[in-house]
C-alpha cells in the first residue's frame, strides 16, 4: 500500500515537473543505460531532485536512490514519506553530533546492494552568487571506497531561475538536465585536487548564454 502510494506520488511529481518545465535530459557524456552510477548534481532548490527524477528513464529510476539529509527530510511525516518512500532516500545526518551511523558507510552499502545514487556534493542548497559552492568530502570518500563506479556530473540548468532558494512558487521556465562524462578518482589522488576536478567537470556542462 505504502509502496503503491509512493509510486503514484513519484509519478505525479515527475509529471508536474514535466508540465511545468518541459524538462528533458541531454545525455552528453554518457548513455542512459542501466549501469551503476553515482549522479552528482548542483543544488539550488527543492525542485532539483524531482527534476533529475523526472528525466531518468523508468528502468534506471527504479534502482536509483537519492542521498537525502535526514535532518531535513525526517522533520515531519509528509517529508519523511516523500524522502524515504518516493525518492527511496538514503538518509544521512548532516549534523555530525547527531550521527549514529557513518553516512559514507550507508551510501556504500546502498551501492553494494546494487543501487545507483543521486548526491548533491555541495552538502546543501546553494544560496551564494557562484554557480557552485565548494564540494564536501563525501564524494571523494565514496569514490575512494568504490573506485569502479562511474561518478556522473549532472548540471540542472535553469533551476536557479525556476525556483531560487527560499522561494516556494516555481516559474515555468524550460529546464534541461545535462549529463556529462564520468569522473573517477585516480591512483593516489588527494582530496583537494579530486574535488576540484569533479567540480570543474560539473561547471563545464553549463550552457553559455548571456544570462546574469
Amino acid at each position: 500500500m505504502r509502496r503503491f502510494a509512493a509510486s503514484i506520488v513519484g509519478k505525479l511529481l515527475s509529471l508536474f515537473a514535466q508540465i511545468l518545465t518541459a524538462v528533458r535530459a541531454d545525455w552528453r557524456g554518457i548513455e542512459p543505460v542501466a549501469k551503476q552510477r553515482v549522479y552528482y548534481a548542483n543544488h539550488t532548490s527543492n525542485a532539483d531532485l524531482p527534476l533529475i527524477w523526472a528525466v531518468l528513464p523508468a528502468a534506471i529510476r527504479r534502482d536509483t536512490r537519492a542521498v537525502a539529509a535526514a535532518d531535513y527530510w525526517l522533520k515531519n511525516k509528509l517529508r519523511a514519506f516523500i524522502g524515504r518512500d518516493v525518492f527511496q532516500g538514503v538518509m544521512v545526518d548532516r549534523r555530525a553530533e547527531h550521527r549514529t551511523e557513518d553516512p559514507i558507510a550507508k551510501i556504500v552499502q546502498a551501492l553494494d546492494e546494487g543501487s545507483s545514487i543521486i548526491i548533491f556534493p555541495e552538502g546543501g542548497r546553494n544560496r551564494s552568487e557562484d554557480p557552485l559552492m565548494p564540494f564536501k568530502s563525501g564524494l571523494y570518500n565514496i569514490a575512494k571506497e568504490r573506485p569502479e563506479v562511474d561518478l556522473v556530473p549532472c548540471w540542472i540548468d535553469n533551476i536557479s531561475h525556476i525556483m531560487p532558494t527560499g522561494e516556494v512558487i516555481p516559474v515555468p521556465l524550460a529546464c534541461t538536465v545535462i549529463f556529462g562524462a564520468p569522473v573517477h578518482v585516480k591512483e593516489g589522488e588527494e582530496i583537494g585536487p579530486f574535488l576540484q576536478r569533479a567540480s570543474d567537470a560539473l561547471l563545464e556542462l553549463i550552457p553559455n548564454r548571456g544570462s546574469a
Binding site: A22, P172, L173, R209
Partner: protein, 322 residues
C-alpha cells in the same frame, strides 16, 4: 444558427483540404523512405516525415479548437502563449530579484490577457501589457532587488527582456484569437474563419519561401542570422497573395483587398521571423525549444504569425469596423 453552420462547413472544407495535402505529403515521404536502401536512414527524409507528423498534430488541434468556437481558440492560444513564453524567458537575462515579476507575468498577466479577450474588452486587452504590465513589473523587480549594497545589476536589460517576452509571446500572440471579438458588419460570427485564413496564408507562404529559397535563393536579406533570400521571400509573397485571393470566401474582404492583406501579413511575418532569428543567433541557439518534433519550439513555429497578428487585427478593425 445559419451563420454558424456556414462557418462549420467552411472549416470542415478547410480541414478536409489540409488533410488531403497532408496525406499527399505523408505518401511522398513514405515512398521516398521505401525507395532508400534499408541501411542508414536518410536524414532529410526522416526530418521531413517528422515535420509532416507534427503538421498532422497541429492541423488536428487547430481544427478542433476552431470547431469548438471562441473558447476553444482562446484556450489553445493561451496554452501556446504559455509554452512560447516559457521558451523565450528561459533565454533572457534575469536575477533572483525578478522572481515575483516572472510569477506575475506567467500566472497573472497571461491568464488575464486571455480572459479580457474572452470578454471582448478591446480597450483593456490592448493596454494591459504595454501599459500596466510594463509599468508594474519593473516596480516589483526594483522592490525585490534594490536593497543590496551594490547596484541592481543589469536592471534595464532584465526588465526589458522580460517585457519583450510578454510582448511577443502573450500580447502579440493573443491578437490571433482576438480576431473573434471583431464584429464586422455582414460577416456574422465567421471570425474563426479569418483566423484560419491568416494562419494558413502565412504558414503556406513560409513553406513556399523555404522550398524556393533552398532551390533558387541567392541574395540573402540578413546573412548573419538567417538563410532567407530575396528570391525565396518573393516567391513566398506571391504564393501568400495568390492563396489569400483564392480563399477570399473565408474573409470579409474584397478579392483585391484579400490579396493586399495576405501580402501585408506575410511580409510582416517574414520580418518577425528575421527578428526572432537575430535573437536566437545572439543567444547562440538554433531552436527556441524542443517540444514540436522536427520544428523546434513553439516560438519557432509561431514567430511569423505572432508578428503579423496585431497589425492584421488593427487594419481589419480600422478598415472594416467592429
Amino acid at each position: 444558427m445559419e451563420m454558424m453552420d456556414e462557418t462549420s462547413s467552411g472549416l470542415l472544407f478547410l480541414f478536409a483540404a489540409c488533410c488531403g495535402l497532408l496525406v499527399l505529403a505523408t505518401l511522398i515521404g513514405e515512398v521516398l523512405r521505401a525507395r532508400l536502401p534499408r541501411t542508414g536512414a536518410h536524414l532529410v527524409v526522416e526530418t521531413y516525415l517528422t515535420r509532416v507528423n507534427s503538421w498532422w498534430g497541429m492541423v488536428f488541434l487547430f481544427s478542433l479548437a476552431l470547431l469548438i468556437g471562441p473558447v476553444g481558440i482562446i484556450l489553445l492560444f493561451a496554452f501556446c502563449s504559455m509554452a512560447a513564453m516559457r521558451e523565450f524567458l528561459t533565454l533572457t537575462t534575469k536575477s533572483k530579484a525578478d522572481h515575483w515579476s516572472l510569477i506575475a507575468a506567467f500566472y497573472v498577466i497571461l491568464p488575464l490577457q486571455y480572459f479580457l479577450i474572452w470578454l471582448g474588452e478591446v480597450g483593456l486587452f490592448s493596454t494591459l501589457i504595454p501599459v500596466y504590465a510594463y509599468l508594474m513589473l519593473p516596480i516589483l523587480s526594483v522592490l525585490r532587488g534594490g536593497n543590496k549594497q551594490t547596484a541592481d545589476k543589469d536592471f534595464l536589460a532584465r526588465i526589458s527582456e522580460t517585457q519583450w517576452g510578454l510582448m511577443i509571446c502573450v500580447f502579440c500572440a493573443s491578437f490571433i484569437p482576438a480576431l473573434v471579438t471583431l464584429d464586422i458588419p455582414g460577416y456574422g460570427d465567421r471570425a474563426p474563419m479569418l483566423i484560419a485564413w491568416l494562419v494558413f496564408v502565412i504558414q503556406m507562404g513560409d513553406l513556399m519561401e523555404y522550398f524556393t529559397g533552398r532551390k533558387f535563393g541567392k541574395r540573402k536579406v540578413a546573412a548573419a542570422v538567417s538563410p532567407k533570400t530575396l528570391e525565396g521571400i518573393g516567391c513566398g509573397a506571391a504564393f501568400a497573395a495568390g492563396l489569400g485571393l483564392l480563399l477570399t470566401w473565408m474573409t470579409p474582404f474584397s478579392p483585391l483587398m484579400a490579396m493586399v492583406m495576405a501580402l501585408i501579413a506575410y511580409m510582416i511575418g517574414v520580418g518577425g521571423s528575421l527578428v526572432m532569428a537575430a535573437i536566437k543567433s545572439d543567444r547562440g541557439i538554433k531552436n527556441w525549444g524542443h517540444l514540436i518534433p522536427g520544428q523546434g519550439g513553439f516560438v519557432d513555429q509561431l514567430d511569423s504569425v505572432v508578428f503579423a497578428a496585431p497589425i492584421f487585427f488593427h487594419l481589419t478593425r480600422y478598415l472594416y469596423g467592429g
